[in-house]
């Protein structure tokens, strides 16, 4: 990037909010995925006006722009290009408003999920989608990727809670979508389009979120299954039993082993464990739902069912689940974490299919995931230094996506497409859908300034 | 005036411990001189005592720190601390950037302003003192 461009950028955001130091460039070269490309510079805008100025400059001078939150994305959405500028929204982090009467929280994109949660807690409210990276991820990133998390079984994903957005489009125009209303059907639902658009259509500058009163009672249980099919049956059984647990997670053998190595939890190391939480506003309500769950566990040959009651143990269990993928990363130098999602009734077929694919290709695949909404996380572990392994992994991943699509599923339930899955978009989306996506991209970002190269939009 | 690259306004009074005093009627304004701020390096902390603190001539008024140095500012007179430069609380580097202007540190009400006459004053006195200081520090370096 030319020195004169850098000077102009530093002028726009202030010299303290611009850097081209090598330590920054390297730290912004990757998110939580395996992609790594060093950008030219980074800016930390502190308000919407600066965001707009930077976007306009990028259009004027012709360099690409890569918006970024906490950089915890798993598909490379925030990976820059070698000629690009990273736009880190972390310094726009005010919680602008919390209104219990309107049932909204209004935030800047850099607000960390955990900080919002902390601000809502005294009111007895929460923002339900609870991603694994909740302690560090930013709401801007959550909205850009339609983040999911363990509460999806009952509460859905980020998309279900975004009421309105203010943003700067790829061509520098400012746009407002939606608003503070709990519902609206005025014109096309641009808000919903933007959620999950991975920073390719606009840069968010303000987010209006719907919030929920937080259930005050929970019940937690885990069930151990000797056979994968039984776990699969239990998942379908629980999710169609007439109640909705707030969380229903599955943990496979390798995952349980890795957790045991990393914590003092001492979980049984079996083919499948289901971890379930029910919630309600009275303990009776939570317990009633848990009874239905336990019935289903038992009806599907659970070898052991245990209710966890001690607060610390429960917290440890959930933290262990949330850090499972990073814990598994201890086992081999390389890993890739997938999140194929299928209709709930097909979960069992994916579980069995993953085992087959792993065996056939002689690769190591650990599995865990959000059984309650059909979103599994097969994690492929390998050593790229060993000859032939990487090729076998790539083939296994191909087969995994083919299997998911075959079962009527999707490439990604919550991690997004980014770079990692761009090549597979054609498997899932027909030409009409892809053309419509590209047309929308062209309309919002005619110069392809924002996050180019992602989501197969450049095709 | 400039003395070998160091700025020393002639009208001010100077304490040999390297702080300057400006007389404004019965009040004094205090700060660090250019020689000291350059020697200390970037100032990172300035102690800002409460307004109304009683001061005695020659006794410690406050502490100042740079990365490598701790200095004690002594009060040049008997009196009371009227106010401090609050900007220094979050931007102590002002002392380095503008030691005689924006980097002023303390404003004192003097019981007897004539006590400042014990300080160094006037072009010859200042020059003699600083040239000796420069030489002394060059030796030590």
């Amino acid at each position: 990037m030319q020195a004169s461009w850098k000077l102009r950028l530093a002028e726009l955001v202030g010299p303290d909010n611009f850097s081209d130091a090598v330590i920054d460039l390297v730290s912004y070269s990757s998110d939580a995925s395996e992609h790594s490309i060093r950008p030219q510079a980074v800016v930390w805008p502190t308000n919407a006006e600066q965001v707009r100025s930077v976007v306009l400059l990028a259009n004027e001078l012709g360099f690409p722009l890569f918006p970024r939150g906490a950089g915890t994305g798993l598909s490379g959405m925030a990976t820059p290009s070698a000629d690009g500028l990273v736009l880190d929204l972390a310094r726009m982090r005010s919680i602008i408003d919390i209104s219990i009467q309107d049932r909204v929280a209004v935030v800047e994109p850099g607000v960390v999920y955990a900080d919002l949660d902390q601000a809502l807690a005294p009111h007895g409210y929460f923002f339900p989608p609870d991603p694994g990276s909740s302690k560090v991820c930013t709401l801007g990133g959550n909205v850009a990727t339609n983040a999911g998390g363990v509460k999806g079984a009952k509460y859905g994903t980020t998309r279900d809670y975004v009421l309105g957005l203010s943003l700067v489009l790829g061509d520098g125009r400012e746009m407002k979508a939606g608003g503070r209303n709990i519902k609206s059907v005025s014109g096309y639902d641009l808000t919903r389009l933007l959620v999950g658009s991975e920073g390719t259509l606009g840069v968010l500058t303000e987010i209006i979120l719907k919030i929920n009163p937080k259930p005050t009672a929970t019940a937690t249980a885990l069930a151990v299954f000797d056979k994968l099919e039984d776990a699969g049956g239990a998942i379908v059984g629980v999710m169609s039993s007439g109640i909705l647990p707030s969380v229903l997670e599955i943990l496979g053998r390798e995952t349980l082993q890795a957790i045991n190595q990393n914590t003092e939890l001492d979980l049984p190391e079996v083919d499948a464990m289901l971890l379930c939480e029910t919630d309600g506003f009275t303990q009776t309500e939570a317990d009633y739902q848990m009874e239905r769950v336990v019935e289903q566990f038992k009806a599907n040959q659970a070898r052991q069912v245990r209710q966890a009651t001690a607060t610390e143990e429960v917290a440890d269990l959930w933290q262990a689940r949330k850090s499972a993928y990073a814990v598994l990363a201890r086992l081999k130098p390389n890993f890739v974490l997938e999140d194929v999602t299928v209709p709930i009734s097909q979960v069992i077929n994916v579980l069995a299919g993953v085992q087959e694919i792993a065996a056939r290709n002689q690769v190591n695949i650990a599995t865990f995931g959000h059984a309650g909404d059909g979103n599994l996380h097969p994690q492929v572990l390998w050593d790229a230094a060993e000859p032939g392994q990487t090729q076998r992994v790539e083939k296994a991943v191909d087969e995994l996506f083919a299997l998911a699509i075959e079962l009527g599923g999707t490439l990604t339930g919550e991690h997004g497409i980014g770079l990692s899955k761009a090549a597979y978009m054609g498997l899932e989306h027909g030409s009409a859908a892809m053309e419509t996506m590209r047309a929308l991209k062209r309309s919002c970002d005619p110069n392809n300034v924002l996050n180019p190269g992602k989501m197969a939009l450049d095709g | 005036m400039q003395i070998q690259g160091y700025e020393f306004p002639e009208e001010l009074y100077y304490d040999p411990e390297h702080f300057w005093v400006r007389v404004e009627g019965d009040e004094l304004v205090l700060g660090m001189d250019d020689f000291a701020q350059k020697l200390a390096g970037e100032i990172v902390y300035v102690q800002l005592p409460d307004d109304g603190k009683k001061l005695k001539k020659g006794k410690k008024l406050a502490k100042v720190e740079s990365g490598k140095w701790l200095g004690k500012i002594l009060s040049p007179v008997d009196g009371v601390l009227i106010t401090v430069n609050e900007a220094l609380e979050t931007d102590p580097g002002l002392i380095n950037r503008d030691p005689y202007g924006e980097g002023w540190m303390y404003r004192i009400a003097a019981n007897d302003v004539s006590q400042v006459e014990d300080l160094l004053h006037g072009v010859d006195a200042i020059q003699g003192w600083i040239e000796a200081e420069i030489a002394k520090h060059a030796e030590q370096a």
């Binding site: 130091a21 090598v22 330590i23 920054d24 390297v26 730290s27 912004y28 070269s29 990757s30 998110d31 939580a32 995925s33 790594s36 930390w44 906490a70 950089g71 915890t72 880190d88 972390a90 310094r91 982090r93 955990a114 990276s133 302690k135 560090v136 990393n262 850090s323 993928y325 990073a326 814990v327 990363a329 201890r330 130098p333 890993f335 | 970037e42 990172v44 902390y45 800002l48 409460d50 720190e65 990365g67 490598k68 140095w69 701790l70 609050e86 609380e89 979050t90």
Partner: protein
């Protein structure tokens, strides 16, 4: 092929094991104050990964990141992938010293300790008006920060010892120099020898220090092994005071800041609280406490080389004191009390003291 960075290569496994999850951003105090990923544990591991892959030189431009770590170990405690970041950082610092790309502030510190008996190059120690080098049961070791930056805290500690009629002596102590190992250098054998000589000459069976860092140095470093060999018990002041009946009480609302060197690094959480709660029953915990405590920002050499960020970190910690509405925040580390007291804004009305200072006020 010979290894370009032999020391760092020992940690290749761990550095590669960093899964880039970024969860450390929730705990790293440097990141919390700066919001700059380059200064976060993950950012540091990314840099070192590229160094080991030969894509990046371990040059002076990396110093701003590699030397801006307080070694508080919050990251390591919470890292799901089991990466021991502080040890890796200290190793990287050692490599940089060997390469000559170390941060200049610490090159200077090493040189200072070659020529002076303390890290501040001060030649006139405060004498605290008490005898030195006497024969006694206990040696009280003050530490450099205690002698030259927080004399009031040290004076208070001595007053408490006097009050308890402890048979103690000061010594003409020199810097334990343990801090050098944090920033890529080594303990000065001459300084360690001097301290050993003086301590052992007193015949004391107990060495008590107010400085958690000196405490760790005496306990863990090879050069100080003769202390244990001579049967000397090494205690931090908080351990020495725990269980003593001080006979004073107050109703002030008090909270406690766990120093990293006493808490996360040494597991001493209960003794300070025991003493404090006995004299101040109106005790509240800070939101982050025990192993979760927020670092004050002074350690690992950061106060010396990156004072502005160091004080920003301290301010983040002090915001928690406001949150719990405490009138006093106590701590057991002179470095912490120094950084926190410096960072406290005039508008914040609570006081920052060591436990000893608080006790001294009450007696």
């Amino acid at each position: 092929m010979s290894e370009k960075h032999p020391l760092l290569a020992n940690f290749r496994d761990q550095i590669q094991r960093c899964s880039r999850c970024g969860f450390c951003q929730a705990h790293c105090p440097v990141f919390g104050a700066s919001l700059r990923p380059a200064l976060n544990a993950r950012g540091k591991m990314l840099l070192l990964k590229e160094v080991l892959e030969g894509k990046l030189e371990l040059g002076p431009e990396l110093a701003e990141s590699i030397f801006q770590c307080t070694t508080c170990a919050s990251c390591a405690l919470n890292c799901p992938s089991g990466v021991d970041v502080p040890t890796i950082i200290k190793t990287a610092r050692k490599e940089m010293v060997d390469l000559g790309t170390c941060h200049p502030a610490f090159v200077a510190m090493d040189q200072v300790l070659e020529q002076h008996p303390n890290i501040y190059a001060e030649d006139e120690p405060e004498d605290f008006d008490r005898p030195r080098n006497q024969k006694a049961e206990v040696v009280y070791f003050m530490g450099c920060v205690g002698q030259y930056r927080e004399e009031e805290a040290t004076e208070a500690a001595l007053e408490v010892l006097d009050y308890l009629e402890v048979d103690y002596t000061l010594i003409d102590e020199v810097c334990c120099s343990g801090v050098l190992e944090d920033v890529g250098f080594e303990i000065k054998p001459a300084l360690a020898a001097k301290n050993l000589e003086l301590i052992l000459a007193t015949g004391a069976k107990t060495l008590v220090t107010g400085c958690p860092y000196c405490f760790r140095t005496f306990n863990n470093k090879e050069l100080y092994a003769p202390l244990k060999e001579a049967g000397v018990e090494i205690l931090h002041l908080s351990q020495f005071l725990a269980g003593q009946d001080l006979g004073v009480h107050t109703n002030q609302v008090v909270t406690y800041h766990d120093p990293c060197d006493l808490g996360r690094h040494t597991d001493i959480y209960d003794e300070p609280r025991q003493t404090i709660k006995a004299l101040a029953p109106n005790f509240v915990e800070l939101p982050h406490h025990h192993a979760d405590a927020l670092c004050c920002g002074a350690g690992g050499g950061v106060r010396g080389a990156f004072a502005k960020n160091s004080l920003d970190m301290a301010r983040r910690r002090l915001a928690e004191v406001d949150q719990v509405g405490a009138e006093v925040v106590l701590t057991e580390c002179n470095s912490c009390v120094h950084n926190l007291a410096n960072a406290k804004l005039r508008a914040q009305k609570f006081r920052v003291l060591t436990t000893a200072q608080f006790i001294a006020e009450l007696i």
